[in-house]
């Protein structure tokens, strides 16, 4: 038995990643289009952070008749009332928008009183009210945060590597974000502030992966000046492959613990992250690097060679 098991992973893999980049690109483009279509038709299930409104979680000491809650709260002249069962039969989650122009906070108190009247002995472990102005700001800030994050990361890659690599990373980032949004849209997971945090973390993770591959490519381009770009990409991806797999696995394991016991609020976050880790790993190999074949970076040696040629010309 060989141990550590890292030895089981072949040390010199020679997968022809670039060979499959065309079919992979088609798959990516199709998935991106599907995600966009889903986002525009099914839409995202925006939570109250971005839509505004109120969520009240109620826990009684005995099981509660949800139909009755639905009826009584439904008759309260509120807008968009939704009553869901929540974890246990004695719990309910009530979402609503206050009547036009009414004070949201006073409406919460009225709903609480009504729930108390339906069956006494109720507690409210969570109450959230987000006014329309605040939800609008949260939305703008969330979009701004994503935009600035992408911009800064791309600028960093551009200064540390090459413009083309910056471009490769921006395509990979757009790919990751679009697919994650598509995933959120198809699963109709609650899109909240935490989702923005998850998206930003996915950006960070995906870039981390991309940087590791690019870093190796830069090194290999200096080392093997004559090697064609496709071969460089294959070599670099293979050389960093065991690291890519191990890191994806440890991150996956960490998230697994959270998904199993982290509770409902965290589950949306961790499921999104799990998806993002997978997509981020894939995109570093199959999006960021192959884009470079479309728009190859200038290679130091070739640049120098071109100059001497030009100089030599009369």
């Amino acid at each position: 038995m060989k141990w550590p098991f890292i030895k089981l992973i072949p040390k010199n893999t020679k997968f022809g990643f670039v060979r499959f980049s065309m079919p992979a690109a088609i798959v990516s483009v199709v998935l991106c289009i599907a995600s966009l279509v889903s986002c525009f038709t099914l839409g995202l299930n925006f939570g109250i952070d971005f839509r505004g409104g109120t969520v009240v979680e109620a826990v009684w000491d005995k099981p509660i008749n949800l139909a009755q809650v639905r009826e009584r709260v439904g008759n309260m002249n509120l807008r968009d009332v939704g009553v869901q069962d929540f974890q246990e039969p004695n719990q309910a989650m009530i979402r609503f928008l206050p009547p036009e122009g009414a004070d949201a906070s006073a409406t919460v108190d009225a709903v609480k009183a009504e729930l108390r009247a339906i069956m006494p002995g109720v507690k409210f472990p969570r109450v959230e009210v987000v006014g329309p102005k605040v939800s609008e700001e949260l939305g703008v800030n969330g979009a701004l945060a994503l935009g600035i994050a992408i911009l800064l990361v791309v600028l960093y890659i551009w200064t540390r590597f090459e413009l083309q690599m910056g471009f490769g990373s921006i395509v990979a980032l757009a790919h990751d974000i679009i697919l994650t949004l598509g995933f959120m849209s198809i699963t109709q997971l609650d899109f909240s502030l935490t989702t923005i945090a998850a998206l930003l973390t996915i950006i960070g993770y995906s870039m981390n992966d991309t940087v590791v591959v690019f870093d190796r490519m830069r090194e290999n381009m200096r080392k093997y000046k004559k090697m064609p770009l496709g071969a460089i990409i294959d070599l670099s991806t293979n050389e960093t492959l065991s690291r890519t797999i191990i890191t994806a696995l440890t991150t996956f394991l960490a998230l697994l613990g959270l998904t199993v016991v982290g509770g409902e609020t965290m589950q949306v976050f961790t499921v999104t992250m799990l998806f993002g880790v997978f997509i981020g790993t894939y995109s570093s190999i199959y999006v960021a690097a192959p884009v470079l074949i479309l728009w190859p970076p200038k290679r130091g040696a070739e640049k120098a060679a071109a100059r001497t040629e030009a100089d030599a010309r009369p």
């Binding site: 906070s105 981390n208 998230l255 613990g257 959270l258 961790t270």
Partner: protein, 549 residues
Amino acid sequence: MLHVARWRVLAVIIVSLLGLIYALPNALPQSVRDSMPSFLPSKTVNLGLDLQGGSYLMFEVESQVVYKARLEAVADDLSRELRGQRRPGELGSAKTPILFAGRGLTPDGQVARVTIQNPADIPEAIKRIESLASPVIGLTGPTGRTDLDVKAVPGNVIEIRLTEEAKTSMTRRAVSQSIEVIRRRIDETGTKEPAITRQGVDRIVVQAPGESDPEKLKRLVGQTARLTFQMVDETVSPAEAAAGRIPPGSILLEQPGEPREPQVLVRRRALVTGDNLTKADPGFDQQTGEPAVTFQFDGAGARAFARASTENVGKRFAIVLDDKVLSAPTIREPILGGNGQISGSFTIESANELATLLRAGALPAPLKVMEQRTVGPELGRDSINAGATAGIIAMFLIVAFMILAYGLIFGGIAILALAVNLILILAAMTMVGATLTLPGIAGLILTIGAAVDANVLIYERMREEELAGRSTALAIDAGFKRAIVTVMDANVTALLTALILFYFGAGPVRGFAWTLSIGVITSLFTAILMTQVLVAAWYRQTKPKRLPI
């Protein structure tokens, strides 16, 4: 080749020890922390409201109301100026009167307008109105600007607006005053350490940890509590008033809890306001035995009320709180002592609350709840437990995986670096007073998963270098040197996104950004410096022929 500078070894030892000392109080029960010698740190990490339970309330100061009040005052004073009357205490002869009409505020209350009969008088009218303006005081002293913008518009109309500087300064003052009033109110109730902070230009955030009742907190903080004493207008019968025949200078107000007289017509002008109170206490009505609030006026308030009550014996006055009539008693005899009592439909609790509000004073402008997030303490405890369990599971899985992947020695080194990393994150968060939230715990666990990445990069590189035919020592050395560049590049991008999250995120998400950004920095320390020291130590001890990975 594998020489590690002594300062590096020292730095690793010192930082790890300091981290342990600062992180330790978090693991100790309160009783032990209290009995520790004072030179040891005893601070624990701040828990967010989502973990310890509590209420987060964000209010917006409705500064429009303050602007409107100022313009109303200007509209009142302007008639005296245009008529050419002397101001109180002003010497010299009266000026020539200017004829005007249609004085008042636009419906939104943000512009005062007056129509001048004779167009030739407009320049003089503007001059007189401008003399009503007062200088704007900025943050650093007088700004040299005044608060009124007076200009003529077609139709012989003069429009008066507040300048932007004036609005800014009035809003700032209203917010500061509101914060002070809120603090006084909350202090009176003895609620556990609520944090009251200004946010942005016109917002106030109140965060109250623990079991506090959010509804009571909202009533306590959000109520304007502007108390006024106004004469009841009895020139028109209640039926006529209800039909809409309201004399100028009067206003119809609701009287909740008094079904026999749901509305009362009162004079707009207040005889005395709550500003003139020196005392307010809950008590009982001596005749009916019902809960009531007793109060005492200050000197000026007592004098004003004595004069008004003397002049109006037999008539009624109304005690008005936030435009709602509490009671409207008849003045039986002049009230000279400056003491009084407010009765109405109070319970003991609501009398208590009103007394508290009156003692703390009125808010300069109404507050509107923009955002409220309340988490019960039990849910918070559940979240902490879930987070801790998730962390232990994640840690266990990763420990098992790393040992499987890299063997006892290199896997062990990575795990030791990871453990120190977690301790350092906790210590750093405790030291800088960062807040740990539920997403923050998720960030911490995610850091566990991602922090081994640096170790993995370094180990993989060593493996490759050895495979390329270098000696063990050279492979270790080259592994570090080459991998560090990659580790840095990879971590800078992670840090960038974490910092953006920190800047834009609110509340719990900011807690996530805290752990993530601190985690990136500490993992650079543990993965690079600490791993290097440990691997070098291992090498000197065993002088291996081959790397065990």
